[in-house]
Symmetry: C2
Subunit: 202 residues, 2 copies
């Protein structure tokens, strides 16, 4: 029995922090793990910036509501869900992703969560589990699923390589060159076809 595990940012929706930095007019929020590899440190810095600008969860969600999924993502996901169970796995936070999940027809999303005070201030965050993508795929395998996985980044490689079938989607030239054995696709049509084909192989 197959289940498809998809990365979210870069695959179905834009990178949320970058889109948020643009939509909110706070360019320094474009800083990513490329600039600050310590994720915990990066997140605390981001929360500090949000607080500085007086942005609580409500204001942030209002801005994220203006961000749209990538063109064709909803149609891709709608079609995929007719023939495969699908879990989205992301390192983002439920509360940030919520407006985008609504636009995608509420697929199931496994990600992290924020700690929010009664006044709406984001006071902290809680990561669901270490190496969330690989760990989640392994847990699904432990309950009888064969997994198919796709993503665009380094942190997707674990789940892609641990799966029965795995695909890069709109990845970087560097990753594609470093992992030539992983099929790499650029369009939803190609990815849909590859998932279908993998499910037919019994």
């Amino acid at each position: 029995m197959y289940i498809t595990c998809l990365d979210v940012e870069g695959v179905l929706v834009p990178e949320i922090w970058i889109a948020f930095a643009e939509a909110s007019g706070i360019p320094e929020l474009k800083k990513t793990t490329r600039d600050e590899p310590d994720y915990d440190k990066l997140m605390r810095w981001r929360l500090g910036i949000l607080k500085e600008h007086g942005l609580g969860l409500k204001e942030i969600q209002a801005t994220i509501e203006k961000i749209d999924p990538l063109p064709g993502a909803r149609e891709f996901l709608d079609e995929l869900r007719t023939f495969s169970q699908v879990i989205l796995i992301s390192d983002t936070f439920t509360e940030f992703a919520a407006p985008l999940m609504k636009k995608l027809g509420y697929p199931t999303l496994f990600c992290n969560s924020l700690e929010v005070a009664d006044n709406g201030e984001i006071t902290g965050f809680k990561m669901r589990v270490e190496q969330s993508k690989l760990t989640t795929v392994k847990a699904l395998q432990s309950i009888g699923f064969e997994t198919i996985a796709s993503g665009d980044s380094y942190n997707d490689l674990g789940m892609i390589q641990a799966s029965k079938a795995g695909f890069l989607f709109r990845s970087t030239d560097k990753i594609k060159a470093d992992y030539p054995q992983i099929p790499a696709y650029e369009t939803y049509e190609e990815l849909l076809g590859a998932i279908k084909k993998a499910m037919e192989e019994k």
Copy 2:
């Protein structure tokens, strides 16, 4: 981080074999695990009856398409999915459940799968995992989720009791009497309220 795990038959849709027996006019298919406690034996007997009547997967799905979710189930699920991740866990088969999942807006379903020959004949079945409900809930807990579970039958008690919060829904008088410590609800409104309340307790 919470995730809600719901039983399907009796909670969101009618008992599929019973509804199918009625819709197809094959009353003997109403036989359940109450009559034949050996599930494997029961399923093989059911597949024999289907073959006898010349019913392949296509014909069965056409009949199941006539069955509707329980009144209010779609609205309940739509509302629940706005504030909680949801996994449906069922002992039925993906291929039988598919027409009903479409009517429910394609929630994520963890169940079993059929083996189908090229001519459409159902030749066998594959159970995903032993004690699928409890095992699935435990796997979700192992990747950082706190689970909330609800169901109507004996085979739901494991996941209900292993969860942070668990509720009986439209259960039998016998189960409700035997497990008075488990809150029991009859309406979707009550169940929705109980899930919301459980998620607010941190």
